[in-house]
């Protein structure tokens, strides 16, 4: 054996060992081997059962929120500077035109125009651009750079909140990924009925406590009448949460909350020791607790409304000074109390979410798919190997060895790259088996041709590999190019297919060219003067 062949064999041996290590690690027992295998070969939700959800962040909500804040602040500033105005309003953009948000200001008298401009410039000039509509009306639009920032911030915040919510379920290997500019992909292995999780992810869960100024009333109109048809600027009317079929009631509440969502430090479900019913306890931050203590101290015997997502849950009377604790009672049961606590802890979403796509696979279908994948894989391998052995005799063994190594490398790379194996991925592996031998066929046919042309065995092998090499590269490049586009455009499982196929093809260049060649060299080196080749 020449030293060249020896080095080649060592390289191949090293590759095999690295691959085997990547797939099963260094097991000391059979159980550990199975364990490592299961850990390293990550199955997608379509194989092990589970769900994947795609949701779209309704970006326009964030933009509207931004505009509302401006309107609120502008109203205060104008009042402070005694600049009169007719109206402050914003438009209502759709998802597609979210960044086309506008704030319209009308009825600023010409004499105050200078002061008005100064106020806007000082307060909002860094974020908004003001244009003059006519002598008394103005329009604010967002700077493009700010629009981008709002989008990016909203996405990050949504991802964070959703991650917190998902993590609190303690599901192993669940993931939250960004998809495009405004979509989030959530993968939940092992969850084949995601209804409850879905509801939770979507819940905004904004908890606020307000001072009650009147109510409950049977209707909004009735509430208005109690104030003689004019609602004071500092008040608002909110409906109660509908529970058990009773109609909603309406409360008049202060406009600014005593406690806001971000004032919460913790929330957890507890069982009431007397009634046995489930409640959600919440704890306020230090800062908010001080504020709350002052407020409750000053408002003993007044009522306080607990408002969740703009619906009044309850309006208990303040019996004593409260500092940092509160409780939400009258919940449906453990699940509801736990979900509410979870949503309060995770914080509120800066924009609402809309589900675009939901896919769930039960574990039995996953098990079926694995079985069917295995059967077709085995059938494919047997067919290919049989044909190669019949057609190329001893050289067929060479191709078979290369094929096995190809599959081994493919699986090992998947394991090292922590890629997820999906059903289309399995199809990709099986297809790779068929494509892998293509390279061998190209080489073997070339060698046969050279032999037919009268070349000696060693020279024929040399020429066969040499001439087929470029063709092999060409054929691989075309398939890899189309797989790249598939990867760019595909979602989940289809991406898995593209990845396995590309890895398989790269491994194939190594096995069909390098490994096969080495086996030939080794075989021919054994003969004194190579005169025959079983091909």
């Amino acid at each position: 054996m020449s030293s060249n062949t020896r080095i080649r064999l060592l390289i191949i041996l090293a590759v095999i060992l690295v691959c085997i290590y990547g797939i099963i690690g260094l097991p000391t027992s059979k159980a550990e081997l199975v364990d490592n295998w299961k850990k390293n070969i990550r199955l997608g939700t379509d194989l092990r059962g589970g769900s994947s959800l795609v949701m779209e962040i309704q970006m326009q909500d964030a933009f509207k929120g931004e505009a509302d804040t401006v309107i609120q602040r502008l109203r205060d500033e104008l009042t402070k500077a005694s600049i009169p105005f007719t109206d402050l309003s914003r438009n209502d953009p759709t998802f597609e035109a979210a960044s086309k948000i506008q704030v319209n200001i009308t009825g600023i008298p010409g004499t105050k125009a200078g002061d008005f401009r100064m106020i806007v410039n000082d307060n909002f000039g860094s974020v908004w651009i003001m244009t003059t509509v006519n002598e008394t009306d103005y329009r604010l639009t967002l700077k493009p750079s700010e629009a981008l920032r709002i989008r990016a911030d909203t996405l990050t915040q949504c991802m964070n909140v959703i991650e917190k919510k998902i993590n609190s379920y303690g599901l192993a290997e669940s993931s939250v990924q960004q998809r495009g500019e405004s979509q989030i992909l959530v993968t939940l292995p092992g969850v084949d009925d995601p209804a409850r999780i879905k509801q939770n992810l979507k819940t905004a869960a904004i908890l606020e406590l307000y001072e009650v100024q009147g109510g409950p009333f049977a209707s909004r109109e009735e509430a208005m009448q109690s104030k003689n048809g004019i609602l004071p600027l500092s008040s608002q009317i909110l409906p109660s949460a509908v529970r058990g079929g009773s109609p909603a009631e309406f409360y008049i509440l202060a406009r600014t909350p005593v406690v806001r969502g971000q004032d919460l430090r913790d929330a957890k479900p507890v069982q009431n020791s007397q009634s046995g019913g489930w409640e959600t306890n919440f704890v306020l931050t230090q800062d908010a607790a001080k504020r709350f203590e002052r407020f409750t101290g000053a408002h003993i015997r007044d009522r306080l409304a607990i408002v969740l997502d703009k619906k009044v849950l309850s309006a208990p009377t303040i019996e004593a000074k409260i500092s940092d604790n509160g409780v939400i009672t009258n919940l449906g049961g453990h699940d509801e109390a736990a979900d509410l606590a979870l949503n309060l802890r995770a914080g509120s979403l800066p924009a609402s979410l809309e589900y675009l796509d939901e896919r769930s696979v039960g574990p039995s279908l996953g098990a079926d798919s694995i079985r069917q994948g295995l059967v077709s894989g085995v059938a494919g391998v047997i067919a290919v190997v049989t044909l190669m052995l019949i057609y190329y005799k001893r050289s067929g063994i060479n191709a078979t060895l290369a094929l096995i190594l190809n599959a081994l490398i493919l699986i090992a790379v998947l394991s090292y790259a922590e890629a997820v194996l999906t059903l289309p991925g399995i199809a990709g592996i099986i297809l790779t088996i068929g494509m892998a031998v293509d390279s061998n066929v190209l080489i073997f046919e070339r060698i046969r041709e050279e032999l037919r042309a009268g070349k000696a065995v060693v020279a024929a092998v040399e020429a066969g590999f040499g001439k087929a090499f470029l063709t092999i590269i060409d054929t691989h490049v075309t398939t890899i190019v189309s797989c790249c586009f598939l990867f760019l455009f595909g979602t989940g499982p289809v991406k898995g297919f593209a990845v396995t196929l590309v890895i398989g093809l790269f491994a194939n260049v190594f096995t069909a060219v390098f490994v096969s060649r080495t086996i030939f060299n080794w075989e021919l080196a054994g003969q004194k003067r190579a005169v025959t080749l079983s091909i």
Binding site: E56, G190, D193, A195, E354, Y355, L356, E358, R359, S360, V361, G362, P363, S364, L365, G366, A367, D368, S369, Q372, S376, A379, A383, V384, L387, I390, Y391, K393, P424, A427, I430, L431, I433, G434, M435, V437, D438, V441, E445, R448, E449, T471, D474, T475, V477, T478, T479, I480, V481, S482, C483, F485, L486, L488, F489, G490, T491, P493, V494, F497
Partner: protein
């Protein structure tokens, strides 16, 4: 063993019947698309799709009428041939219906089969965590000593057993052999759970927005891939080779899509994946033939291009048939044993590999000849690689 030893078929001479066949196939497919329309899977059209497996023969008619009463829009309920499985498809016009729609199907089915009316949990349709949640209390009361870990393991084992046995248990007694299941546990199961007559195998709900987005991306990806091929082949050979190869591959794609319409098979995401793979793979045969044409053009200069191409196809015939045949074998294995989910995918591969092999011989190669005839009759010039250009031109003038 050797097939096709020293063959000498006149492929190009017989090109017309084959080109005719291609045209007929393409036309048939596209007439079918024009009249019947393309059947899209829910990936592309949006909608809800639920697959159920029943313990007995499924009451398809009953399910259909129950759902039609509750759901708006088109509903299709079909039994998967030869299996006690049912595929329910509904349409979704707006993202907002997404949640409601799925829930409605779920509730209707549960209501129909009365599986959880008693308030008991249906083992055939619950995950191991749900099961653990519901059995914790009853098991404690029955005096089965279990730690929390034991309980989780027990429920996971029950779920795994169910998954391995088709997803449906018909009696709690079946579980007797499962690790951790004692007669006492079976008793508790019998008293506290029911076994519904069906299990939900999978649910896909896709909003129309994503559907439209995916449709656009699928077309773009295919076109980009074809463009990529064109550039690569043009770079490695000459631009007319690139055009010929891409026309051939495009032809394969058209025929395969046409076949989907003819056989009324839905186009799904995985089918597009198969089509894109074919775009790359069909190229392989074409490249092998083109490689040989280029090589032969360098050596035999006195022959006409037509003869050189014929010679090249004959020389590479055995590898063309063998490589395609081997890949076809694996695609066939997938088609036969890969199951329902991969059916469309493997069908596209099987059809595409066959069409692709034939098109590299009867579509791609004739285009080279057509081009040469178009440029000027009888000049055996076209193709040699750029470096050979001058030599062949010189020869052309002499000839």
């Amino acid at each position: 063993m050797e097939l096709f030893k020293n063959t000498n078929f006149d492929f190009l001479g017989k090109k017309w019947p084959f080109i005719g066949l291609s045209l007929v196939l393409t036309a048939a497919g596209w007439i079918s698309i024009a009249t019947k329309g393309m059947r899209y899977g829910i990936d592309f059209k949006g909608g809800a799709e639920m697959k159920l497996r029943f313990a007995q023969e499924p009451p398809v008619q009953k399910i259909r009428s129950a759902l039609e009463n509750k759901l708006p829009g088109e509903i299709s309920v079909q039994q998967i041939s030869g299996k006690p499985e049912v595929l329910i498809e509904t349409e979704i016009k707006d993202e907002k219906e997404l949640n409601a729609n799925r829930q409605l199907i779920d509730d209707t089915l549960r209501g129909m089969f009365d599986s959880s009316a008693s308030g008991m949990i249906d083992v055939n349709n619950s995950s191991s965590t749900e099961l653990a949640e519901r059995l914790r209390g009853p098991l404690q009361q029955a005096g089965v000593p279990l730690s929390e870990q034991d309980l989780q393991d027990l429920c996971a084992a029950i779920s795994a057993y169910r998954a391995d046995h088709g997803g449906i248990l018909s009696s709690a007694d079946e579980l007797a052999g499962v690790k951790g299941v004692t007669p006492k546990v079976i008793e508790v199961l019998k008293a506290n759970t029911v076994l519904g007559p069906f299990t939900i195998l999978s649910t896909d709900v896709v909003g129309p927005k994503i559907g439209a987005e995916l449709r656009r991306q699928a077309v773009l990806a295919t076109l980009y891939a074809l463009g990529g091929m064109l550039v690569y082949i043009a770079f490695r050979f000459e631009w007319i080779y690139g055009v010929a190869a891409v026309v051939a591959v495009f032809h394969d794609t058209l025929i395969t899509i046409g076949l989907f319409s003819l056989f009324n098979k839905p186009i799904s995401l995985t089918v597009v994946a198969a089509l894109l793979t074919l775009v790359g793979y069909s190229m392989n045969d074409t490249i092998v033939v083109f490689d040989r044409i280029r090589e032969n053009l360098k050596m035999v200069r006195r022959e006409s291009l037509e003869n050189v191409i014929n010679l090249s196809i004959n020389q590479t015939l055995s590898r063309t048939v063998l490589t395609s045949g081997l890949t076809l074998l694996t695609a066939l294995a997938l088609w036969l044993f890969g199951g329902e989910v991969l059916n469309g995918f493997s069908f596209a591969l099987v059809a595409g590999i066959i069409v692709g092999t034939y098109s590299s011989i009867f579509i791609a190669s004739p285009i080279l000849v057509f081009w040469q005839n178009f440029r000027g009759t009888g000049k055996p010039v076209v193709a040699a690689p750029p470096t050979r250009e001058t030599a062949s031109q010189r020869k052309a003038m002499r000839g």
